[in-house]
């Protein structure tokens, strides 16, 4: 059997299951909030064009509007100033091979539950590798925090001094880059911690990651259904010309434990 034939058979028998890591695109789903004088991320909006009525008797459809960075979405290198010169750094130009690959899930749920400003550090990575083996080159690394279980205001967790949510430290991003990862993803509204503006450099998951030509995923969910290793991530963004990112459906293929 060819590898793909094996895969399709495994899918058919349930030996390989498909896990949806995506939030529903909903007008009420939070988006990142920047200081008010900056341009803001558009909320997801649906305008009904017709609904089997005088505007179109037999069909229903909507016009959509949103940002490239609304809902569960993909960040391309050119999203950040550090990545502006990365070759093939926009969603339409990225080698599609990057959108399918092995995924490593680092469980930070306990730490994030104890500390809203929890940061992923190299020590956590080292500890993970000690348990699960080295992060392979080309892997996607996802930071599980169970933050996606939060709802409403608790999700962004905005305070007078800004958002408080977990994310990677600059050292952790450097450590991951050293391992040759393809991209990094989180359950929060951004790949960076809520207070990452105060890191050095600020926003390491953007500044360092995209500067290195790597990709980001955010607003993921169901990471608690993934094994630490062994799953395959599928995350193709829309092929937007010059796109800096894209809402997308993120799937994972997981082998049944038995």
């Amino acid at each position: 059997m060819t590898p793909l034939a094996t895969l399709t058979e495994a899918l058919a028998t349930g030996r390989v299951r498909v896990i949806d890591l995506t939030h529903t695109l909903d007008p009420d789903f939070p988006v990142i909030v920047l200081p008010a004088e900056f341009g803001q991320c558009a909320r997801f909006r649906m305008d009904e064009v017709s609904a089997y009525d005088h505007r179109g008797p037999a069909w229903k459809w909507h016009n959509l509007s949103m940002s490239e960075h609304t809902g569960t979405h993909f960040d391309a290198p050119i999203h950040w100033v550090t990545g502006r010169d990365v070759a093939k750094g926009s969603t339409d130009a990225i080698d599609p091979a990057a959108f399918v690959g092995p995924v490593c899930v680092i469980d930070c749920a306990e730490g994030a539950a104890a500390d809203e400003d929890f940061t992923l550090e190299p020590s956590h990575i080292d500890k993970w590798e000690a348990e699960h083996g080295p992060i392979p080159p080309g892997a996607w690394v996802l930071m599980r925090t169970d933050w996606s279980h939060r709802q409403g205001a608790a999700y962004l967790n905005l305070k007078d001094d800004g958002a408080h949510s977990p994310g990677p430290s600059p050292a952790a991003i450097r450590a991951l880059l050293k391992r040759g990862i393809t991209g990094f993803g989180t359950e929060c509204v951004g790949t960076d911690a809520g207070q990452a503006a105060h890191f050095d450099p600020p926003y390491p998951a953007h500044a360092l990651l995209h500067g290195a030509g790597k990709y980001g995923l955010q607003c993921l969910r169901n990471l608690d259904q993934l094994p630490p290793t062994g799953a395959v991530l599928i995350c193709p963004p829309l092929k937007i010309k010059g796109g800096t990112g894209s809402p997308l459906r993120v799937l994972a293929l997981v082998e049944d434990a038995q």
Binding site: P27, D28, V33, Q40, A42, R43, R45, M46, A153, L158
Partner: protein
């Protein structure tokens, strides 16, 4: 003595909601001047600029000297009730439903004699204080009020029939996040509103006023974002038949010119102002228009809060004021559409509010509380046009005098 209006009982769901009828609404062009004055709460009659004779009914040439130079001018409000009748039979469906109806002849201190609606507390042959008020058809009519305030005078059946007073009414404030929302909620309840629904957008963002508002009696917060049609449909599906007054205070004010401003802010301003108004009207308009005669707490008014510069343009707030102008234009059309249901559309032109977006501007600025008060007063007096704050009043006056000159003056940011 006016009987205080009792809170309405719960609606009998088996009874058909009465179809709104309107008093006679046809007017000559000249008589529309009465409506213009009434819309602003002014008491104006035509005065001959040649001989000074005050005219009534409105006309096209002076009854004393035949001059055609007749100007609308504020007049003394005093009058004497000369004769009165209580009408018990009328062929007009609107008045038939509201009989008996008191009307009378008044000798205006301004000169002419006029027919007027007579407030129940005006005694036979008494001195009265005249007001020009909009009736259900949206036309200006003369009302003889008691010379001095009387208890519960706003509950007089004639005033209630033509007015938009918040008392016993249920009111939706579209944007709880607007700076005036807390004060407006308080002021509406103080004016006797039965309930205030507050629309809260993006509950996932902090809303410091939430605990205060949520703790108030007869106040509820509901998910609502005027840029999100679904949230509006959902809320209308839940409370659409209970909203007697809708206050659309959603607006997006951002500094910036045409070149220096952003397309995004312009888009947001139009989405929140102009298109937000349309979305709200789609969902709430039909029920409002159908409930214009639904008893004590009939649907009564739609309020559109506009930036004062909606009448002109402010190069420093180009997109916001353009959106304000677009919102005003849509709201004027909405006024025409809702008129058939007897629903008044009140425009409240707000001068710069003392908020973060006008922070570097010099005073005078409008305190959110003052804006709230202006909205409630506009509803209490049944107005169509309110200019809240010194800047708004100044712009309105200059706009009335010479719109082109105002436009030129605005170039200097005046």
């Amino acid at each position: 003595m006016t009987q205080p209006l009792a809170p309405p009982p719960r609606k009998n769901p088996a009874r058909r909601t009465p179809v709104p009828t309107l008093p006679p609404g046809t007017r000559s062009r000249a008589a529309l001047g009465l409506s213009l004055a009434a819309a602003q709460g002014r008491f104006q009659l035509q005065t001959c600029t040649d001989c000074g004779a005050v005219q009534y009914p409105p006309r096209d040439a002076c009854h004393r000297c035949l001059s055609t130079a007749l100007a609308w001018q504020d007049q003394p409000r005093g009058a004497q009730l000369l004769a009165e009748t209580t009408i018990h039979a009328s062929p007009d469906p609107y008045f038939r439903e509201r009989l008996p109806w008191r009307a009378g002849t008044v000798q205006l201190d301004a000169g002419p004699v006029a027919l007027a609606h007579i407030h129940g507390d005006v005694l036979r042959g008494a001195r009265t204080r005249m007001a020009l008020m909009l009736d259900r058809a949206g036309q200006g009519v003369l009302v003889a009020l008691p010379e001095k305030e009387t208890p519960h005078m706003q509950d007089d059946p004639a005033l209630r029939a033509m007015g938009t007073h918040p008392r016993h009414r249920r009111i939706l404030i579209a944007d709880a996040r607007a700076p005036e929302a807390p004060a407006l909620t308080r002021a509406l309840l103080d004016a006797g509103a039965a309930h205030v629904f507050l629309g809260l957008s993006e509950r996932w963002r902090p809303f410091p006023a939430q605990p205060t508002l949520a703790a108030m009696e007869n106040v509820t917060l509901h998910p609502l974002d005027v840029t999100d049609a679904e949230s509006i449909t959902d809320l209308a599906g839940s409370i659409g038949g209970k909203v007697d007054i809708l206050i659309n205070n959603a607006r997006h004010i951002r500094p910036g010119g045409v070149i220096t401003g952003t397309i995004h802010d312009a888009g947001d301003a139009l989405e929140k102002g102009a298109l937000g108004l349309m979305r709200l009207a789609h969902a709430f308009g039909p029920a409002l228009a159908a409930r214009g005669a639904d008893g004590v707490n009939s649907a009564a008014a739609w309020v559109t809060v506009l930036p004062a510069q909606a009448l002109a343009h402010d190069p420093a707030f180009a997109a916001s004021t353009a959106a304000g102008a677009a919102t005003r234009a849509l709201s004027l059309s909405l006024r025409a559409e809702l008129r058939a249901g007897g629903i008044r559309v009140l425009h409240v032109h707000a001068g710069p509010v003392d908020d973060e977006w006008h922070q570097p501007l010099p005073p005078p600025k409008l305190a959110p509380k003052a804006l709230a008060r202006a909205i409630v007063q506009g509803l209490e007096q049944g107005l169509e046009e309110v200019h809240a704050g010194d800047v708004a009043r100044d712009i309105a006056e200059r706009f009335a005098r010479n719109p082109a000159l105002l436009a030129r003056e605005m170039e200097g940011g005046a």
